[in-house]
């Protein structure tokens, strides 16, 4: 026993040291990369007012001296690294998050040197970009809390996106398009549920079936039907709805209270899912089914019905996520337009430890990485100390790398529902 304990404590110590070194490295990188490469006296201007002036109460811009800010951020990081090496923080992951945040901040200040950057616009963009990811995460939470792994979120989103455009174009009613997306997601989820629950197919395999099918079917129908009949592929998009008064709050107003119905639904669903999951009988039953189906069954909970219901609800949410790409932004369907957002949603769910608010917060992080990459593409970033532009591909890689780092750093302590992925057989 004592040997085991010594092993564990040594492993923990190693991890703490490694983290400390990583922090120190990041701190040095901030100072070395961004400090001297900014000219002395340069300033970074962060605009806080949203595009159209006069809609919200105007507030002054945030102007920061570049070098000073970067040295401050770098030294702060080094201080945290030193503390980690000597005393070790209890919440290492939290500090890791903080330090990554500081590094990004330093990078932003450096990129903005001598220019101005609309922070509010980017944060709004972050929420938009994070929305499909958050809906994907919510879909995953609904399914996995009752122990059905849903890696078909991507396929459900893609099909939902396709259905919403076609129905929206035919009927000319975007709400009917949205309904069609919900139904499509629900039907695919029902297929997933039947395969996983009734036929006990490996859940990752049945999810893959749906992903391949959705990619194939939507691309096939697009190439064969939509290309020739462009009228079927022009649904238009939802307009933003401004909520009176709330939308006039500086910074927060334009971000949260002047967007379209898809974003509102997403925010609503985050809260509702949390309430249902943790404060209602249905949620308690779902969690019981996800943790210990046999015990739940013994107490008279219908395991199969609970799973079917939750998976179908999850599928409908994924279908709604698909409408973000069409009715929410593009107004038309393009082949494979979801581009892996469903999978990133799954990563957000894991990062958020299978909770709605956790999943939402992680989606915002991914949304931030995504919108940052877009904005940086516009601003134009050079490699420090050279005039060479940073290739856009490297920026495009960032969200995927971030997902991997997050998974590697966190999943060890993120514990899925105990029965996740296991079919249940009535005894």
């Amino acid at each position: 026993m004592s040997v085991a304990i010594r092993d564990i404590s040594r492993a923990v110590l190693q991890r703490e040291r490694a983290m400390g070194l990583l922090f120190a490295l990041l701190g040095l990188a901030i100072i070395a990369l961004f400090g001297p490469s900014a000219e002395p006296g340069q300033q970074a201007t962060f605009v806080l007012n949203f595009g159209q002036a006069g809609k919200t109460t105007p507030i002054p811009n945030l102007v920061l001296p570049v070098r000073g800010t970067i040295y401050f951020l770098g030294l702060l990081t080094l201080f945290l690294a030193g503390f980690q090496l000597v005393r070790a923080f209890k919440a290492t992951s939290l500090i890791l998050g903080l330090i990554i945040f500081l590094s990004i901040l330093a990078f932003l200040v450096w990129v903005t040197r001598g220019k101005s950057f609309n922070l509010t616009a980017m944060l709004g963009h972050m929420l938009l970009r994070g929305a499909p990811i958050a809906l994907g995460a919510l879909s995953g939470i609904w399914c996995e809390r009752s122990a059905v792994i849903n890696i078909a979120i991507e396929g459900m989103m893609l099909s939902g996106a396709f259905a919403s455009v076609v129905v929206g174009s035919i009927t000319g009613n975007l709400y009917l398009g949205m309904l069609a997306a919900l139904l499509t997601g629900g039907i695919l989820a029902a297929l997933l549920a039947v395969l996983s629950i009734r036929f006990q197919v490996d859940q990752i395999v049945s999810g893959t079936v749906i992903n391949i099918f959705a990619a194939g079917a939507t691309s096939f129908l697009t190439a064969r039907v939509l290309v020739e009949n462009q009228a079927l592929n022009a649904s238009g998009t939802f307009r933003p709805i401004a909520i009176p008064l709330l939308s006039r709050i500086p910074v927060l107003g334009p971000i949260f209270f002047e967007t379209n119905i898809i974003i509102y639904s997403m925010l609503f669903l985050v809260v509702v899912t949390h309430i249902i999951l943790f404060y209602t009988r249905w949620g308690l039953r779902s969690r019981a089914v996800g943790e210990h189906p046999l015990a739940a069954d013994t107490l008279g909970i219908n395991v199969f019905r609970t799973r079917y219901m939750n998976v179908i609800i999850g599928g409908m949410i994924a279908g709604l996520g698909g409408t973000y790409f069409t009715l929410g932004s593009a107004g038309r369907f393009d082949e494979l337009m979801t581009a892996g957002k469903g999978f990133i949603g799954l990563a957000a769910m894991i990062f958020g430890k299978w909770t709605p608010f956790g999943g939402f917060a992680s989606s915002l992080i991914f949304g931030f990485a995504d919108s940052l990459q877009v904005k940086l593409g516009i601003l134009g970033v050079n490699i420090p100390y050279t005039a060479e532009p940073l290739p856009s591909e490297i920026l495009l890689m960032a969200p995927y790398l971030a997902t991997m780092i997050v998974l590697a750093g966190v999943v060890g302590r993120a514990i899925p529902p105990a029965a996740d992925g296991q079919p249940y057989e009535k005894q």
Partner: protein, 421 residues
């Protein structure tokens, strides 16, 4: 054991199954799965055909025309599939008779083009299918084969055009080995992350696919890295010393990689079932807890299996580059990696099954290119594949459709296990 088996079969209940049935039994469900998949894909072809739909609009006035239109739509599509993959039977016959009479192979070669294409297409499928199957045997779901193919192809094309002055018997193997190594290292990252941190390989390999795509964009578009000076996103041509020889003469693309792929299948079989390392991998796949209890290192086997899987995927890319395209450009792999998941499932993760399934998929892809000329988008084969995996993975579904009796349960491979590892 013998006594127990006697007990299971009470007297006079059932006769032992005859040998031919025992041989055909395992083939029945895959056959029906493929058949059903074709029927459902046929529905997609019909329902997306405007002419057929308009014929059905007046079904009651003219039912004959509706049926005729349906038949025409499906037969054109599947006819093109057949002609593009096997060839036109009468052309083949004419080619053979020309060969018999005059000894001239030109006609036959022309007629055999589709067949050669099918075999050529099955080469990356065999490698990629083996890659997925090997992962499955260790309980790992490697969705990253697509990216690993790309990485392997990039590495071996680099060796192919950058290193000159080598004789072919050094240059060609070097290019192949580097391709395999690159694929192995790339995918071993996912294995390592799974072993060390428990991060699920499904998500990590998907993320690494995107990384591989962006990395290849970066390398191909920059002339200083691997792009062409003209700025077109493709690498330079490889040197002829790195070519995999084409075995049937120039217009036919059938190349030596096909036999390499068969050799790889045999090697994978030998490795998994005749070596200690292979036994460990299969044990970890079947039951990691038991493997750990028996003193095997689960982490080591994850990394090893993932690395070997990536090496096979890398070879798929290397073979495409060295045998078929001779350079690497955008859209290099038309989804071999994703298709290979279906393929490994269809082949029950067994090398022989994988080879057979790869031949089927190679044939489908060759035929799909011809179908595309007839206006059937190539994506139809994805629908086909999804249906095939679904029915193979849920044999009960096939039995339900065709009202088959439930056979004695065959021990199934456990493919994946949740997020925990």
């Amino acid at each position: 054991m013998a006594v127990e088996r006697e007990k299971e079969r009470p007297e006079g209940a059932e006769k032992p199954t005859p040998r031919w049935r025992r041989f055909l039994q395992p083939l029945l469900v895959p056959f029906l799965a493929i058949l059903t998949a074709f029927v459902i894909s046929g529905l997609f072809i019909i329902l997306s055909d405007m002419e057929v739909l308009s014929a059905y609009a007046n079904l009651f006035q003219d039912p004959g025309q509706a049926l005729q239109a349906t038949w025409k739509s499906v037969s054109t599509a599947y006819g093109a599939l057949f002609k593009g993959s096997i060839g036109n039977p009468s052309d083949l016959y004419r080619g053979l008779s020309a060969l018999a009479e005059t000894g001239d192979t030109t006609l036959l070669r022309k007629a055999a083009y589709p067949l050669s294409e099918s075999l050529t297409n099955s080469v990356p499928y065999i490698f990629a299918g083996l890659a997925v199957a090997l992962g499955f045997r260790c309980g790992l779901f490697n969705i990253g084969v697509e990216g690993q193919i790309l990485i392997g192809g990039l590495a071996s094309v680099w060796v192919g055009y950058n290193i000159s002055g080598l004789p072919w018997f050094i240059h060609l193997p070097l290019a192949l080995v580097v391709g395999a190594l690159a694929g192995a290292l790339w995918s071993a990252i996912a294995g390592y992350l799974k072993a060390r941190t428990g991060a699920h390989e499904v998500i990590n390999t998907i993320m690494m696919n995107y990384l591989a795509f962006r990395l290849s964009d970066l390398l191909l578009t920059d002339p200083r890295l691997m792009g062409r000076p003209t700025g077109t996103p493709m690498t330079p041509q490889i040197l002829p010393t790195a070519y995999l020889p084409r075995l049937l003469g120039s217009p036919l693309r059938f190349h030596a990689g096909f036999f390499m792929a068969l050799g790889a299948a045999a090697l994978v079989y030998w490795f998994l079932w005749k070596t200690t390392l292979g036994f460990e991998i299969r044990t970890v796949g079947a039951n990691p807890d038991a493997a750990r209890y028996a003193g095997m290192s689960v982490a080591k086997n994850f990394v090893l299996a993932m690395g070997l899987s990536g090496a096979l995927a890398g070879l798929a890319g290397a073979n495409e580059v060295l045998g078929v395209t001779h350079f690497l450009g955008g859209g290099f792999s038309p989804g071999y990696g994703f298709d290979s998941i279906a393929l490994a499932l269809l082949g029950k993760s067994h090398p022989v099954g994988v080879v057979l399934a790869a031949l089927l998929f190679g044939t489908l892809r060759a035929g799909a290119s011809t179908m595309q000329i007839k206006g059937i988008p190539i994506d139809i084969i994805q629908i086909l594949q999804a249906m095939i995996i679904m029915f193979i993975a849920a044999p009960a579904l096939v039995r339900l459709i065709y009202r088959l009796k439930v056979e004695r349960e065959v021990t199934e491979v456990v493919f994946t296990r949740g997020w925990g590892g």
